[in-house]
Every structure is written in C-alpha cells, then in structure tokens.
Symmetry: C2
Subunit: 95 residues, 2 copies
Amino acid sequence: MPKDEIIYDLAEFFKVFADSTRMKIIYALMEKELCVCDIAEIVGTTQSAISHQLRLLKQSKLVKFRKEGKEVFYSLDDDHIEEIVKKGREHIEEL
Amino acid sequence: MPKDEIIYDLAEFFKVFADSTRMKIIYALMEKELCVCDIAEIVGTTQSAISHQLRLLKQSKLVKFRKEGKEVFYSLDDDHIEEIVKKGREHIEEL
DNA sequence: TGAATATATGATTATATGTTCATATATTCA
DNA sequence: TGAATATATGAACATATAATCATATATTCA
C-alpha cells in the first residue's frame, strides 16, 4: 500500500477524468490544439464553464497552453492521458 | 468525439478511481483477494464505509466477489484496473 | 432455536463539485 | 484612446457524494 500522500494524489488525478465536460475537452484536444472558444463550441457549453474546467486540467498538468494574441491555445500535456482514456474505454466496452 | 453515452460512461468509470478510500481498496486487492473486514482493517475505516464503496466498485465491474460462509471475498475484476492505476502513478510521479 | 459474526443497506448530514451570472483582465485594431 | 473580442475569475446555488449510525439480512454453531 503506497503512502497516503500518493493515494490522495492519485485520487485527485483521476478526479479530472471523472466528469463528462472534462472528458469531452480531453477528446476534443486529442484531435488538435484548440482555443477556449473552439472548445466551448465543440463541447457545447459556455466559455465560462470551459474556462473553469481548463483551470483544473492545468492544475493537474493534463493540459498545457500557449497564448497567441487574444487567444489561448490548449493541448494535452503528455501521452499518459490518451493511454488512460483508451484503457478506460476498453473496460467499459467489454461489459 | 464519441457519443455522449460513451463520454458519460467513461466519466462514471473514472469516478470510481477518484476517491482515496476506493483507491486504497484497489491497492489492497492488488495484493490478494480479501474479505470485507480485512479490507476495512487494511484501509483503516469502518465495515460500513467499505461495504458502501464496494457496492460502487461492483457496479462498475471493477471487483468481483465470492461468498464463503459468512464472509464475502472480493478481488479485482480485470487487468485494466492495475494498468490504469499504474499509468496514473507514472503521471503523478513525473511532476 | 438463539446467540454471535459478517456483510449490506437506508437515512441523515456535512462537504465537495459544476454551472451560471456578473465582471475583471488582457489584447487588438480602428 | 476606446470599442470589440477572448479569456479568467469570484460568488452563489443546486446537486452529488462519502461517512456515520442504526438496523436488516444471512450464516454458523452451540
């Protein structure tokens, strides 16, 4: 059994995947880098909701971003993300 | 972008990993099959709390169980679970 | 059968979480 | 500079969730 801190961090990490809005954001970013308003458009919700969720995704290092003029472009931060989502999908599709 | 139903199911699936009590249960079961009271002992919480959480783990097909007399033995249901936890841990330990 | 033990479950409560709304903070460009 | 656009953020509210407590449901065994 890992130390409590590891357990806690892991649970926090998986929390990020545990919401349908964030899952949609992740899928959108699997395609390509996107700005906030494009993500909002694709996900089908408000800019504000997306911005709040992107903050969580940033905090957990799931996404990185770069600014370009008025826009901020987000992209997935590493390959674990896609692999984890893929494994999750394998699980649910086996049922 | 997958269908909403897939997105929703995925988020539900990852919710199971998004709690420290459940994460401890998962780690305990990685070692070996255990009965409820042993899990409670290892995790360090009440039988009731464990039983409630095991119900969620059952619903999401993360654990299976067999009855033996008064006891119910739980074990992890498939290999995705360990792989997903391992990937999560790689992510948080890279930070 | 009745006591003891293991587990499950329902209700309650406290906390966490996601969205919304209003607004603040850049940045561009006329 | 001022209007327009893109993004971020804080407060408030509604909902979801986890733990606790009490109790129900097996199961064993004397």
